[in-house]
Symmetry: C2
Subunit: 386 residues, 2 copies
């Protein structure tokens, strides 16, 4: 087991009708900026629940944060934070709104001239403006971690940021919110959370037995509840398991003491940038090829994944590993998630080289747990996913 530090101070308030508890978490003297996305909360009743819970608060609102939160839009919110002397941020949304709020938390207290530097110059946020979240779409885990990804439209850059100052003070997780989420987004959320776990798990055995089992626990549970989530998101217990799995998949716990991969995300982000394919679907496109291409270095762990998550008990290590990849693909297909790039676009010629070139330009010369996935390997992995 590798050495690690772990600290996660976010308070989780989980369960039925918990949005009503908002006022217990935000001091009534705060001036609150309520941030949200495209407006679905105005239709599904969540906005009304939030406003009812914060009836006597001084609240300013900022809606319209897009998926892949855009720097240009967030700068408008930053102006409001300054002009209105906001002291507390409340994100009501999914990963994009929460990530955007994290940027604002950092930028609100940033003393430099150019807030983009927080991302461009990898400035760690030690202290941000306090913020909480009401999660409306389980998937990214942003509600209980300190990382965010922000996109600058002007330069087509999508960069990460983070730091101990960016944990939400609290996050309210009411599993009932998923009832109004379209099937397509639910399938994306399940795929995203599942792949988050895989990136922290599918490397090589390191004797981190508890971390492995926790990772497998999350995947087993996602696989078990997935059909119910898609068919009947109003079934509370399935929704609760799904929501808690998504949070536990990326709150830092399962990555502690183990090597992590993240090559699938690295490559997948480019497919979103190039073709606008949903983030989760890009992961489902790349993951099978990545594991097949790096089969030799991952086969022991793939076999363990096959045994424990998919119940494959017979065959050699290689046979179990091969079947495990097939079962993972079938799982994505069962969610109506396609796993080949050609199923999303007909104009994919040259994609592999383009991605590889971008990585070379950025100096990304070795991805994965061994930093052994070179630009040439990226070409082959992407080609295998056509």
């Amino acid at each position: 087991m590798l050495n690690f530090d772990f600290k996660n101070p976010t308070k989780i308030i989980f369960g039925k009708d918990t949005i009503a508890k908002l006022a217990e978490e935000i001091p009534s003297t705060e001036k609150v900026l309520l941030l949200y996305g495209g407006g679905s909360i105005l239709q599904n009743g969540i906005y009304d629940q939030v406003k009812a819970a914060l009836e006597n608060y001084d609240i300013v609102e900022f809606g319209g944060i897009p998926a892949n939160p855009e720097y240009e839009v967030l700068l408008e919110a930053l102006k409001i934070i300054k002009s209105e002397k906001i002291t507390y941020l409340l994100a009501v949304g999914g990963g994009s709104v929460i990530d955007g709020t994290k940027f604002l938390s950092s930028a609100a207290l940033y003393e430099g001239d150019e807030p983009w530097d927080i991302l461009a110059k990898y400035i760690r946020t030690e202290k941000g403006m306090p913020f909480g979240t009401v999660l409306t779409m389980p998937a990214t885990g942003s509600e209980m971690n300190s990382g965010a990804v922000v996109t600058k439209v002007a330069t087509h850059e999508k960069l990460g940021m983070g730091g101990p100052g960016l944990f939400p003070q609290f996050s309210i997780l009411d599993p009932q919110v998923i009832q109004s989420i379209p099937k397509r987004q639910l399938a994306n959320g399940i795929t995203d959370a599942f792949t988050h776990v895989m990136e922290q798990y599918m490397t090589y055995p390191t004797q981190a037995k508890l971390q492995d089992r926790f990772a497998e626990s999350i995947m087993q549970t996602l696989v078990e509840v997935a059909p119910t989530i898609i068919e009947n998101p109003a079934y509370y217990d399935a929704a609760a398991n799904y929501m808690w799995c998504c949070t536990m998949a990326l709150n830092g716990l399962i990555q502690k003491g183990v090597p992590t991969d993240w090559a699938i995300h690295g490559i997948g982000h480019e497919l979103t940038a190039m073709y606008g394919i949903d983030h989760a679907r890009t992961l489902a496109i790349i993951a099978p090829s990545h594991y097949r291409y790096n089969f030799e270095s991952k086969k022991e762990k793939l076999a363990q994944f096959g045994e424990r998550v998919w119940g494959i008990t017979t065959g050699s290590t290689e046979e179990k590993a091969t079947k495990a990849i097939e079962r993972m693909e079938s799982f994505f297909h069962s969610l109506d998630i396609n796993t080949k790039l050609s199923e999303y676009t007909t104009e994919f010629a040259g994609t592999a080289e383009k991605i590889s070139d971008r990585f070379i330009q950025r100096g990304w010369l070795g991805l994965g747990e061994h930093k052994a996935v070179k630009p040439d390997d990226v070409v082959k992995i992407v080609e295998m996913s056509y």
Copy 2:
């Protein structure tokens, strides 16, 4: 799944040679009281590591905190905190030293006349004097939770306390510390942690699928590493898994959203009070009888435990449940832990009634997840364990 709140802000610093990082966690301006127990840290090198790490600090020392930390002893430490104007507490020890330090953290800022009231009047600690820990004996999980148990020798009372102010600011977990722990104590630690998980798991199915699997993961891992821990505690990877399992067993995570039992601890504490039997061993005495006596209400979960932790795949629910209890007993026996009261004392006549009478006096009229274990049931459970 039940509604829950979860917040655990303790920073864990885990791994080889991490005691050297102490100075990164305690501001150098603090005046530190270093608290420890019977002095084993003076022999095994941990004291020297701590002193080397805090070379330039202003440190006062207080040793001699006994197992089951005693109020009377802790009051002596409290005097030193006040007379020496201590600002930071550092516990170097196992659960007893850490629990004693939690009491001191609370008492140091308590404004009442009688610190025992914190326990006797169940006063929740919202804010304590800051403290950190260096864990020398994995078992209780106190290094990452906000609870403590303190004993008043004068009145034979053993009471609990807690509150959000009592999370350690940090805990250093170096698995190498277990090398010098006697086998008997290692066996106790494994049994203690295993039973902690059982108390939060062995109730009835509630569709909290992820929590169940996390609990099972901890137990599977403890079972897997136990023989190595006993035979070769210097084997680092086993030690690391054991240590992390003990922390995860009682840091709050697996109890969230599920009913919990804790009847075994309630009854077991009395056996320690009456006969001085090691805490963990009292749990091993009571657990099998408790599960056999309450078989009907727990059999579904016992069968799940049998399937998932012990690999019992054939038979009816009742058969799997019965075998699961037997396998748990065998596991305790494999650690050289006896599971019958008569193996610890010949003078056990009347024990069951005495415990039941104490519970009646205290108003403990219903234990367990359904509050259905009445004093009469306690008599029968204890008699079954003779």
